[in-house]
């Protein structure tokens, strides 16, 4: 009985939906969507970031990059790659951790056993924390 009742109500809602779609003009909702979720830290990756993303999250936290190049601002490079790159929703509140001069990221990447492009990692984290 419960299922029959549920399906009948859904069928009625479907009819109403189709009628409304025919009679009203739809406006784009993308901007509204992004504005709605920006305060919650839910912001999309850019297409180029998306393409490179699997490479950017490959850190295995071995610590070798810290030996090669040290810190970004107050943050050790392995922490940047293994922790900040997890892209926490509240990353924006942690932007002070990664403010400051960049170390020699090329040297750090050269030391990385899984070939993490640390300059790109810094770029993505800073954009999303900004």
């Amino acid at each position: 009985m419960g299922r029959t009742d549920s399906l009948m109500k859904l069928a009625w809602a479907y009819g109403l939906h189709l009628t409304r779609r025919r009679l009203t003009r739809q406006s784009p909702q993308l901007k509204e969507l992004l504005d709605m979720y920006a305060p919650d830290g839910i912001r999309p990756l850019k297409p180029a970031e998306r393409e490179r993303h699997p490479r950017l999250v490959g850190c295995i936290n071995c610590g070798l990059c810290a030996l090669a190049a040290g810190r970004l601002g107050r943050t050790r490079l392995p922490d940047l790659a293994s922790s900040y790159m997890r892209l926490y929703a509240r990353l924006g509140e942690a932007s002070s951790d990664i403010a400051g001069d960049e170390p020699d990221l090329e040297a750090a990447s050269a030391a990385c056993p899984v070939g993490l492009p640390l300059a790109e990692v810094v770029e993505v984290v800073r954009r999303l924390a900004g």
């Binding site: 909702q29 850019k46 999250v57 490959g58 295995i60 936290n61 922790s83 790159m85 932007s95 951790d97």
Partner: protein, 534 residues
């Protein structure tokens, strides 16, 4: 065996329902004993999708479940504000999907009527181009998308917050304590016999015994001379140690089920499966076929999914109510409060079925039944009384970080677990030295968990404060973690070593089904770090 302790109520099962019942009853002024054979939330609650959701898919079967679920989700969002966060899903529609975009949007329009109950935003509809701007990794084949909003929560912290509040109101709560039998007097259930973590057996007398053991409900029922039949269903998840997308995604499996990729704090859960389970509830393995089933579903909408490295898996069993001749996915998520007096087992009550999103309501109705039996009149207050950590506004992150000498990110994580009590946690053990860098988790918080949050093993610390939960799966922190916990609990050197070894061995069981590519690089490092522990 020492003399039995005496309580009004004994609750068996320290998942979210049992913990919720213990909190509810203790707030009503009853003396409560809560027993959990493993750790708080280590069973079905911890293996869930970590969501407080209304369940739009139940609209096809039972609108009342959706309404009740959304109503209770609204209460949970209010009382656990510091623990919950929005999860925005994109539901991409492909040609030949089970539901075309008009049918899917209809479902979301109906669901929008319930969304205000849980303080969520209504759905939106996106063109294929718009959907790919929101998530560029979506397949170009899509014909459109709709959005859906739910709430995420760490179930381990949610369970423990309920335990903590129950204890603050006079309850006694024991984890790693297994009920071995129920004490009966001419059929009436009058107490429990249990074995503690030290192996000692004890007895407790209670006017009412509540069976809230989740999938173990039938086993406990039999101890009380009653019969409760469930249809247990296994569900697994893949865990990625980072957000794959800032948005959640929904995909259709080869057999037409809906599965989710959920963006939580700093990680992603991908699941779940739903299969009848007949095996050992204490040893639920993940099969490579199940992993493949999930990846196949997501590869269709998000082709790059196989380029990402899962770090582990979770497996749990849902305590679904029994129903013959239904596919697993069609089974109701309703619950049932059963008074076994009619079967001759006076003083024995079972709560069966249900889901995380309705735990508070399930606890309220079970507590009502218990109070009726005891003739105790006191109203339920759990819908509005804040859980520990949600009593006041959160301190600004930068101030908390400065006063505790930790990074802003560590302060954010600290707040997500302890809310407005974050400063107090750090006060007890000054110093912001980090124990687990991936999380990031401070040594002070880990010591606090061992001292005040009933952490008795590294796995408990993983659940309570996220130790070893990040990309390196503990390679950098397990041994240090054992040292810190061992110092608090007076472990000898060999006990610390054994604790680390036990954690590494158990973690391997969850990691083995998903190793591949970078996973092996990680494993190589872990092997080096753990040399001697295996």
């Amino acid at each position: 065996m020492s003399a039995p302790s005496a309580h009004d109520v004994c609750v068996i099962g320290g998942g979210v329902t049992g913990a919720g019942i213990a909190r509810d009853l203790s707030l009503r002024g009853l003396s409560v004993l809560l027993l959990e054979k493993g750790d708080w939330g280590a069973g079905t609650s911890g293996a869930s999708t970590w969501m407080i959701h209304g369940g739009p898919r139940y609209l096809e079967f039972d609108w009342d479940t959706t309404r009740l679920s959304c109503e209770d989700a609204g209460h949970i969002v209010t009382i656990a504000r510091h623990m919950v966060y929005r999860v925005a899903f994109i539901i991409p529609i492909l040609p030949h999907d089970k539901n075309n975009i008009e049918r899917m949007e209809t479902a979301m329009e109906v669901y929008d009527r319930f969304q205000p109950l849980k303080k969520s935003h209504p759905h939106m509809r996106l063109t294929p181009e718009e959907a790919r701007q929101v998530e560029p990794g979506l397949t170009p084949d899509l014909v459109g998308a709709v959005t859906l909003e739910e709430w995420g929560v760490d179930p381990h912290r949610l369970v423990f917050a309920n335990v903590e509040d129950a204890v603050a109101n006079g309850a006694r709560a024991l984890n790693h304590t297994k009920v071995i039998s129920l004490v009966r007097d001419e059929g009436k259930v009058i107490g429990v016999r249990y074995r503690g973590p030290d192996g000692a057996t004890s007895e407790a007398r209670a006017k009412v015994v509540v069976n809230a053991a989740g999938p173990w409900v039938p086993e406990i029922s039999r101890m009380g001379g009653a019969n409760v039949e469930l249809r247990p269903a296994k569900g697994i998840h893949l865990v990625y140690p980072h957000r794959i997308s800032k948005f959640g995604l929904s995909a259709e499996t080869v057999d037409g089920r809906d599965v989710l990729m959920v963006a939580h704090g700093g990680f992603t859960l991908l699941g779940t499966t739903d299969d009848d389970f007949y095996g050992d509830l204490d040893s639920v393995d993940v099969l490579e076929d199940e992993v493949e089933y999930l990846l196949q579903a997501f590869e269709r909408i998000f082709p790059a999914i196989r380029d990402y490295r899962p770090v582990r898996t979770t497996a749990g069993v849902r305590p679904t109510l029994f129903k013959w001749r239904r596919y697993e996915d069609e089974l109701s998520r309703r619950y049932q409060v059963i008074d076994h007096a009619s079967e001759g087992s006076e003083g024995f009550v079972t709560i069966a079925g249900g889901k995380l999103s309705m735990y508070r309501l399930m606890a309220e109705e079970t507590s009502d039944a218990v109070c009726r039996k005891l003739g105790h009149q006191a109203p339920c207050t759990t819908a509005s009384r804040p859980l520990p950590g949600n009593e006041s506004e959160l301190e600004p992150v930068t101030e908390l970080a400065r006063s505790c000498g930790i990074s802003a990110l560590a302060a954010i994580k600290l707040q997500s677990r302890h809310g407005s009590r974050a400063g107090k946690v750090m006060e007890e053990a000054r110093g912001g030295r980090v124990a687990c860098r991936c999380e990031p988790l401070t040594e002070a918080e880990l010591a606090y968990a061992a001292r005040h949050e009933q952490v008795r093993s590294l796995a408990d610390a993983f659940r309570r404060v996220g130790l070893a939960g990040g990309p390196c799966a503990g390679a950098a922190c397990v041994i240090r973690g054992a040292e810190i916990i061992g110092r608090e609990l007076d472990w000898s050197a060999s006990q610390r070593f054994e604790a680390a070894r036990e954690f590494v061995r158990d973690a391997w069981l969850g990691r083995a089904p998903v190793l591949g590519r970078f996973g092996w690089a990680q494993e190589e490092l872990a092997q080096g770090a753990f040399r001697g522990l295996r």
